[in-house]
Chain length 324, copies 2
């Protein structure tokens, strides 16, 4: 049989990147457009599909593409729609049938989900979750996203939007305000942004000396905290401890729900290494129900950061939809 | 084709009941033994299987039984074992291959899971979850159990023990001690026992008059609180509000995880009607992420309480195991 390929599309608020990928997860050809350059879904999908069609043509792979997989903000797996996506002007108040539009313009089937679900599919197809049927991917970036697999299937829920673990409540009283409008969400503590909030709080409340005190309050980033922790800065290490502790507590609850073989961390903060992982593991072990103790592995994604989002999206195109 | 039947076994700490059930969920013949009368797994399964074999013989249904389904404390779906079940003397420190023992003694395939998972399978096969692929059953009894379905499959996790939602943490600080050894578990607040603890706390802390004050502290039951609430006793109503509020908060987190079509309540407290349901619904609506608002139904099981456990267990025998 002729070798088959898929196309992965990673749609972010700023850039949309796309690439041709083979079954082993190797990227052949890439392209990109600026998401924000287009004022309508029609114009955006025109530009995107021209890019994809050209890529396939240039590679001489017409007829060898099995399909397109796409990760997009508020992407709905069942309906192939982008729904009420806050950062996409042409989709922030409506339901856009993006998968169908892409199929119309490329002649290829298109599967859609949100970026964290795409990351989970990618981990199963090419990454740390290969061979696993039950696992959770947690993306620790500007926000906190998640993709859940149970029984070898992506958990999308009855409406296609399951797996919003960044918005479980982790602090019921006096919780931090979250972008979603609620207070006390996991994301408000353990995203890169949440880490910086913790840093600012801790620098305010505690008196120990710290490298971080020399950085202007407004400019402080999670990278600064990491760099300081690497230099054994006490406050920086405490910031990671606090963040890891809350993540570990939350993971113990997730384990009680779906008892995954592994929880796989992905995204910027996941690269903080033992500064974050050690307190996280400790807190998870302390909080997990005894029947689950020591069973769930805590792993960091081994996919290349610049490729993982496209790989994850592309992996969708290899998947069949569940019976829905 | 000849009509087929299954056998359901509901193993509790005190009684084990069993029955022949048809595909529509009608119970034909019943039997029971005292779980506590037997000192070994061998003696227990001997008595149980004699009872089952006699029942099938008396009904003249030899050859028409597709299999046996059993709900048991700490029953493991994948392995067919009872593992470290605190209340079963012959299984509290060991792993007992109960399904295999029953198969050996009856000649019938036997599927096993815990009682809350069995309840969930029962709801899908005969009850409120008929036709649903994504739902959660919460059992509100002496403890709080749960059974989760995603994509039409029971979520058992990588080890067969998933769905312990009674032990998610709902109060991180100053939480109540739970039987599992942790503090702040959902079960410590929203089981029948948890409701009585709330009652005692509230009677202590608040000054309003209440029917409940005339009941000796030790003898107070959840039924007393219900009866008082029915008589519009203010404190009793506040007790249900407090309990329903915590359940609704927890449900909002569960929805963020698996976005179920419905959460179905089962067990003693589920019969408290609007006293519990109204505050629960209100709290769930207030806490759920906006993308899920108004989508997940809150239902009460319509299965007959005395039959539901056996029906749930029996339903397992109609199910195929997932690929594991």
């Amino acid at each position: 049989m002729e070798k088959q390929y898929v196309v992965g599309i990673d749609m972010g608020g700023t850039n949309t990147t796309f690439a041709i990928v083979d079954a082993r997860g190797s990227i052949y050809q890439r392209g990109a457009i600026k998401t924000g350059d287009y004022e309508t879904a029609e114009a955006y999908t025109d530009a995107l599909c021209n890019g994809v069609n050209d890529l396939v043509k240039d590679a001489g792979l017409q007829g060898s593409i099995k399909g397109i997989g796409m990760g997009a903000p508020n992407g709905n797996y069942y309906r192939g729609t982008i729904e009420l996506a806050a950062n996409i002007p042409w989709a922030n108040k409506s339901v856009v049938p993006i998968a169908q539009m892409i199929t119309d313009k490329t002649g290829l089937p298109c599967q859609l989900t949100n970026d964290a679900n795409a990351a989970a599919v990618g981990e199963m197809t090419y990454g740390a979750a290969k061979g696993m049927k039950d696992f959770i991917v947690i993306t620790l970036g500007t926000g906190v996203g998640s993709g859940v697999f149970c029984n070898g299937q992506l958990v999308c829920g009855h409406d296609g939007f399951a797996g919003e673990l960044g918005h479980v409540n982790v602090r019921r009283f006096n919780g931090r305000a979250c972008g979603c409008g609620a207070t006390g969400c996991l994301e408000a503590y353990s995203s890169a942004t949440g880490l910086v909030r913790t840093a600012k709080e801790m620098l305010e409340l505690r008196s120990e000396d710290s490298i971080l005190r020399s950085i202007c309050d407004r400019a402080l980033t999670s990278k600064d905290v990491f760099d300081a922790a690497e230099k054994k800065d006490f406050i920086a290490q405490e910031i990671f401890k606090y963040t890891g502790n809350i993540l570990g507590e939350a993971f113990a609850n997730f384990i009680a729900f779906s008892s995954p073989e592994a929880i796989i961390l992905f995204g910027g903060l996941a690269r903080a290494g033992s500064h974050l992982l050690e307190p996280m593991q400790k807190s998870m072990d302390e909080n997990v129900l005894s029947i689950f103790k020591g069973k769930t592995k805590l792993l960091v994604s081994n996919l290349n950061d610049s490729e993982a989002a496209i790989l994850g999206a592309s992996a969708l195109a290899w998947e069949d939809k569940s019976g829905k």
